[in-house]
């Protein structure tokens, strides 16, 4: 199943699928792709689900590029925010398990990214427990720019 079909088969967000990176609005300039025509669409999960889950720590965005699915959280890039970002990822995964068997099925092609809002204003050491905490939860970042084609 491809990204667009997976989203359209998920009733809670099907109506929110936008072309390219349009769903990211002004944050789309924080994502760089080499071939824009390979973008498969995007969803602003946060806005799309605000009415259904007003008090939940909602994740921000999801988009498809080639065969891959990218989950993106734009958030202050501080060590003190790590637990909040991890909490959002936890919510996202619980929501997805319940609401979207399709996206769940694309897990092997999915990566999770923390993009710093504004500049990356936290100096994460390469070798500290904060960096490891993120990696343990499979969150890449925080980065000021997501260069999609260089994601491993």
């Amino acid at each position: 199943m491809n990204f667009a079909d997976a989203v359209q088969g998920t009733p809670e967000i099907a109506e929110c699928l936008k072309k390219g990176l349009q769903a990211l609005g002004s944050n789309s300039n924080k994502v760089e792709v080499r071939v824009t025509r390979d973008l498969k669409g995007s969803v602003d999960i946060d806005s799309c689900l605000v009415k259904l889950y007003p008090n939940a720590p909602r994740w921000d965005y999801i988009f498809g590029y080639r065969e891959q699915v990218y989950y993106v959280e734009v958030h202050q890039g501080r060590t003190g925010e790590i637990d909040n970002v991890i909490a959002k990822l936890g919510w996202l995964k619980r929501w997805r398990r319940r609401a979207s068997e399709n996206l769940e099925g694309l897990e092997d092609q999915s990566t999770y990214h923390w993009i710093a809002s504004g500049r990356v204003d936290s100096e994460f050491a390469k070798d500290d427990k904060y960096r490891r905490k993120l990696l343990k939860n499979r969150i890449l970042g925080p980065d000021s720019l997501l260069r999609v084609d260089t994601v491993p």
């Binding site: 060590t79 204003d121 490891r132 990696l135």
Partner: protein, 395 residues
């Protein structure tokens, strides 16, 4: 381990050791993994515990070796402790309060030392932290060259190296490293490139003197002008040769355990990566390994490998971590490690307890676990201090 096998050199299992009041350690309960890592501050008891494991494993061989070299403690356990752990160290063991159990059976030193009819084979190879001292004059020193108060471990290791070179257990061409057939090419290449930069380690027996030299394009450099890392690594490598026989045998029959104190000593991170490959090779050969370390890199490796196992990530990321190409040997090595070998990590804390930090979980509220027993505590502090400065507008 059946009690009757303690100290006999028989094939020991020794899955768990519990102790109270030994030297600086008030309490420890250690279950061994295939690789067990000890971390902790200086003088927190790591070395004492490692020497204890050696004593438990090889008491028969140790007493025989001491006697062979003319040492006699005349049945006095305290004097034996002084001979074994080193002068002045006899006080670390107080028979009234020191309690040790191995796999739930009491270890009684007096009984072990006086037991008759023990086998004398050695089942544990210990490579001590003071290994550089063994080659002080460029040639391994004999057991009896050391002072009576020097620890047994250093004397015995030094003697083993001496026999290794004196008895020409290294090939006749007198090249210690590299030796084709001694280590797998993957391991040899990693060592050769990162530690010796293409130079050879040789025995120089020309004239009246015997010495170990580093041969760089025909120039022979004596031991004292080598880099610190090379000086530290060569005795370690020679110790490893005892464990990795040439001629295709995976391991030396009688030896089942390896202890290496601070294997990273003097090595640059790239060389530590080569060292990790060696440790994994030893594990694959069937040895159980215990190391003590102050290297965050080694703990990072342990943590990452545990995650790769959990994520069922396959061999490729592990090989990438080790900077190793995919060869039949390296793929088999990675597969064995990921599928069969388990790691344990213990932190020797300042409150004299030994804590199991094996998860190395960065989300654990206990910083001893999250910060690898303090090895990455400074990096974590850097992040915290700089983040705080940024928030306050100081940057």
């Amino acid at each position: 381990m059946p009690l009757q096998n303690i100290g006999t050199g028989s094939k020991i299992i020794m899955e768990r050791i519990k102790l109270t009041s030994l030297g600086q350690i008030h309490e420890a309960d250690i279950s061994f993994g295939d690789l067990t890592v000890f971390v902790g501050e200086q003088a927190s008891g790591k070395s004492i515990l490692l020497q204890l494991v050696k004593l438990i494993s090889d008491a028969g061989n140790i007493t025989q070796t001491l006697k062979k070299h003319g040492f006699d403690w005349q049945g006095k356990t305290k004097d034996f402790l002084s001979l074994y752990f080193g002068g002045g160290m006899e006080c670390i063991w107080d028979p009234a309060v020191t309690k040790i159990t191995i796999d739930d059976e009491a270890f009684e030193l007096d009984r072990v030392l006086t037991k008759k009819g023990r086998k004398r084979t050695e089942s544990l190879c210990m490579i001590p932290a003071q290994r550089v001292m063994t080659l002080k004059d460029g040639w391994p020193r004999a057991f009896t060259d050391y002072a009576i108060g020097d620890p047994y471990i250093i004397k015995q290791f030094s003697e083993q190296l001496r026999l290794l070179v004196e008895m020409k257990l290294v090939p006749s061409e007198d090249t210690i490293f590299p030796q084709v057939g001694r280590l797998n090419k993957v391991v040899r290449d990693a060592i050769g490139e990162s530690i010796f930069g293409g130079a050879k380690v040789k025995l120089d027996r020309s004239g009246l003197r015997k010495r170990i030299v580093l041969d760089i394009a025909g120039s022979q450099l004596p031991f004292m002008v080598w880099s610190t890392g090379q000086r530290e690594f060569v005795p370690l490598l020679m110790g490893l040769y005892q464990l990795m026989p040439s001629g295709g045998a995976a391991k030396k029959n009688n030896l089942n355990w390896v202890i290496i104190e601070e294997p990273e000593m003097g090595l640059y991170p790239k060389s530590i990566t080569a060292l990790l490959i060696i440790l994994l090779d030893l594990l694959k050969r069937g040895y159980k390994i215990i190391i003590s370390t102050h290297s965050a890199q080694i703990l990072n490796f342990v943590w990452a490998t545990q995650l790769l196992v959990k994520w069922n990530a396959g061999s490729a990321p592990l090989l990438k971590l080790l900077d190793v190409n995919a060869t039949p040997f390296s793929k088999e090595l990675a597969k064995t490690i990921l599928q069969e070998k388990r790691f344990k990590t213990y932190y020797f804390s300042s409150d004299a307890k030994v804590k199991d930090i094996s998860t190395l979980d960065p989300e654990d509220p206990d910083d001893a676990v999250a910060d690898f027993g303090g090895l990455t505590a400074f990096s974590t502090k850097v992040s915290e201090v700089l983040s705080e400065a940024i928030r306050r507008g100081e940057a």
